[in-house]
């Protein structure tokens, strides 16, 4: 084994970078080499260390034991109840023969030993999450997963803490409070660990939270930088390095000037979705949420930097580019969906792009070096806009669908959850297809109803969602970003609210809200296998190689989230406008599934 002094060998640059933070030169060298060894082995590495498995957010497993010809033999290896009834959106994390599951509120972390038969709980960690946080979370009390790096587990709690645990023992190493539930802030996203920094964003854009992304030192939990999504350039970390592609983004302090006075202070733009990282370009990518809490007519302007994608330097947080998918958002089209980093041959040239399926219904192919939109095609039925102007990057709104008090607006497509919500897609470098779990919903604002919040009565628009004209509420779609077309699509009765997984065996996996875990042929979408779980699936399926060398497929069942709150929150199906109108289109879900978190793990016999 090559363990020597740093100077003079191929690892020198890595080690000298590490030396800035520590005096222990020898240990750092060893750590760097182990890291490199893992990188070299990465092509067939069997772990699943972060929610999307890799920095590019592909959710692609390089394991190929399970194939279209044998997947019908998949059988349950083990299951495990989390004993919690809320929506389970998390991806299980697998590292070093252990699986780590973070639950919805109260955000327990459970470590399962995978080395023996059955399930052995190594440790459970209870962060004592403040129960008041439940009263603040908008839609359900979900958590989208933990992250593993360098022997530590990092996760977020609904009451705005990021916590680091020793992965072996479950001992708390540090915890940092990042926000205030009294201001409506919560945290539901899965953190990403990049270059020794834990990246975390907030939730709560509906009611006047100012959005941010924060970097914490992974060693100590100390705040390194915070980049706000609204306000003066110095708060947004916009400086000399900022080179947005489009002219409308190139001016001073647009995070102030594109709002009425003071409105940016409570302007939304939270960062509750996904973060990707390109080590070559050294850029992180993430989307910001909708503006709030004013009605569109009371916040004239583009409302920057909400509903758009930022590229930033992980070390400093400095913004490098920004692209706004929905300027002056009218329909709750957050840009928080995933950015999948892939290299494509477009027009004979290899381009470094990011694929971004947005709530507004368009699948964007964006040059991830510059922020230039190369294409944007609708992947669902869209009536709220006429397309994306590639010369300016602007979404061309349909004025007939602008919401206004006293006006009836029908056929608003896609509905507020968008053509696709948080549920992350998967990319296969083998098929070169993006696998999209999504929904086909429209909504009507046809009436006004009396609402009541914090002692204040008012009349709000009553939005009721319904299936789009094609009639099916959910779909699992394979999209070719080069020819810019849907290759195939599988209709589902309910919105497909789970994540997607695709493997080197060319099998794609997803779950349905009525509790079917499905395997389909990644090439043509043929259904190959399915398994009925005890509760609907809104979690993120993963694949890992167990200590026995075998390929495993794992997913958390446990229905809930915005779409499934009708079950996990026992909502009244007679009230169509509950859960911001989602209940109207989910009235048959309670008869199709029950609540309750359960981990399912499968393998071949």
């Amino acid at each position: 084994m090559l363990v020597g002094p740093c100077g003079g060998n191929i690892f020198a640059s890595r080690c000298s970078a590490g030396l800035a933070f520590s005096t222990s030169r020898w240990l750092l060298c060893v750590a760097a080499m182990v890291g490199l060894a893992q990188d070299a082995r990465g092509a067939d590495d069997g772990d699943w260390p972060m929610a999307a498995r890799d920095f590019a957010s592909t959710r692609y497993s390089p394991l190929g034991e399970v194939t279209p010809s044998n997947v019908h033999q998949l059988q349950l290896a083990f299951s495990f109840s989390t004993s919690i009834d809320k929506g389970h959106e998390a991806a299980p994390i697998v590292a070093g023969g252990t699986m780590y599951v973070v639950t919805p509120f109260p955000n327990h972390v459970i470590a399962l030993d995978l080395t023996g038969p059955g399930v052995h709980v190594k440790w459970t960690f209870d962060p004592k999450t403040d129960a008041k946080a439940q009263g603040v979370a908008c839609c359900d009390v979900v958590n989208r997963g933990a992250a593993y790096a360098d022997g530590r587990i990092f996760f977020n709690t609904l009451d705005d803490h990021t916590i680091a645990l020793d992965a072996a023992s479950g001992r708390e190493l540090w915890r940092t409070n990042l926000g205030d539930i009294a201001k409506g802030e919560t945290i539901t996203m899965a953190p990403l660990v990049v270059k020794g920094k834990v990246l975390v964003g907030n939730s709560g854009g509906e009611l006047g939270v100012r959005g941010w992304l924060t970097a914490l030192d992974a060693a100590t939990g100390k705040l390194v930088w915070r980049a706000y999504s609204t306000g003066p350039d110095k708060d947004v970390l916009i400086g000399a390095a900022f080179k947005p592609f489009y002219a409308q983004d190139r001016s001073d302090n647009l995070g102030v000037k594109t709002w009425p006075p003071e409105a940016w202070k409570i302007g939304g733009g939270t960062v509750w979705g996904w973060i990707s990282y390109d080590p070559q370009l050294d850029l992180i990518y993430y989307g910001t949420s909708n503006p709030g809490p004013w009605n569109p007519e009371q916040r004239p302007g583009d409302n920057k930097w909400t509903c758009g994608i930022f590229a930033r330097r992980p070390e400093s947080g400095d913004a490098v580019w920004f692209y706004q998918t929905s300027a002056h958002d009218l329909h709750d089209y957050d840009a928080t969906n995933e950015n999948v980093l892939v290299d494509l041959t477009l027009g004979g040239t290899m381009r470094k792009v990011l694929l971004h399926p947005d709530r507004n219904g368009y699948l964007y192919v964006i040059d991830r070096s510059t922020g230039e939109v190369l294409s944007a095609d609708s992947f669902v039925h869209v009536t709220t806009s006429f397309g994306v102007d590639l010369a300016t990057g602007a979404l061309r709104y349909n004025p007939a669908k602008t919401p206004r008090i006293g006006k009836i607006v029908r056929d608003v497509c896609p509905a507020s959850p968008g053509g696709k919500d948080w549920q992350p897609s998967a990319w296969s470098p083998r098929t070169k297809l993006l696998y999209l779990p999504h929904q086909n919903l429209c909504q009507d604002s046809v009436a006004y109803e009396t609402s009541y919040i914090a002692g204040t009565p008012y009349v709000g628009a009553e939005a009721k969602m319904r299936p789009d004209p094609a009639g099916q509420r959910g779909a699992f779609t394979a999209w070719d970003p080069v020819i810019r077309k849907k290759l195939w699509s599988i209709d589902e009765r309910f919105p497909v609210w789970s994540g997607a997984l695709v493997t080197a065996g060319d099998v794609a996996f997803y779950g349905t809200m009525d509790g079917w875990f499905k395997a389909v042929d990644a090439k043509d979408g043929t259904e190959l296998w399915k398994y009925k779980t005890s509760s609907g699936i809104i979690g993120q399926p993963i694949s890992y190689r167990g200590p026995d060398g075998r390929q495993y497929i794992a997913v958390l069942a446990g229905v809930g989230g915005w779409a499934g709150a009708v079950v996990s929150g026992d909502l009244d199906t007679r009230d169509g406008s509950a859960a911001a109108g989602f209940v109207n289109v989910m009235k048959d879900l309670p008869s199709a599934t029950k609540k309750g978190g359960m981990l399912y793990v499968f393998r071949l016999p």
């Binding site: 006047g208 009605n295 009371q298 006004y448 609402s451 914090a454 002692g455 204040t456 026992d570």
Partner: protein
Amino acid sequence: MSFVSHSAWVVAAIACAASAAPARELRVCADPDNLPFSNRDEAGFENRVAQVVADEMGAVLRYEWLPLRRGFVRKTMDSGSCDVFIGVPKDFERVLTTRPYYRSSYVFVDGRAAHGVDRFDDERLRRLRIGVQLVGNDLAATPAGHALAMSGCVDNVRGYTIYGDGPASQRMIAAVADGAIDVAVLWGPQAGYFVARSVSPLELRTARPLPAMKGVPFEFDISMGVRRGDVALHDELDAILERRRADIDAILAQYAVPRVDQPRGDIQ
């Protein structure tokens, strides 16, 4: 037998008797920090009204505390943790509402300069700094927010969110009192209570809707709310509200709730 053991027996007997016939409970969902309606110290007028109702029922009053924010019905009454909201709009569809026991209105509050504005089409509004309550997005503004937008007032309007230190209404009245804003438009019961406690004199006037704002009311009837289908409790509360009307009116007057359903309580 010692005296001590004898008294212990008596205590035990009382405890047994109590457990054999448990007292009826009135389970109320309320916000722990939302004066003038309710707080954990039970100092709000809804706390006082709840006590009147519990006394009339011969029930023990018990609270389930949760901020009345998005999802509060789902998280309280729908999850079975309580049976009654003391104050909700009569037309609030999420619950079964009783007969209204008061009606109030959105009001203008202004301070030392006393501009006397009570209409949204008053030209002076465009030059004044105006505060409104912010309750959410997706066309979920207060009637005042919609009226100001229709009047073209944008840059001079400041929003007060439901999150912050103390109720938004309290922060708004303080802002008028110290001159940070010129006028506030807010829901009557909140305005009445904090205006009455303001150190500097403030004026309060009923807000008249814009003629163009059809279908957006500025006045609301307030009822108690029970679970949909709980007709027995609904009917019982209706009867109690009638029997104890005078006591409830006295509480509302004590908290300076501006009423538009009583000639003597009309707002100037």
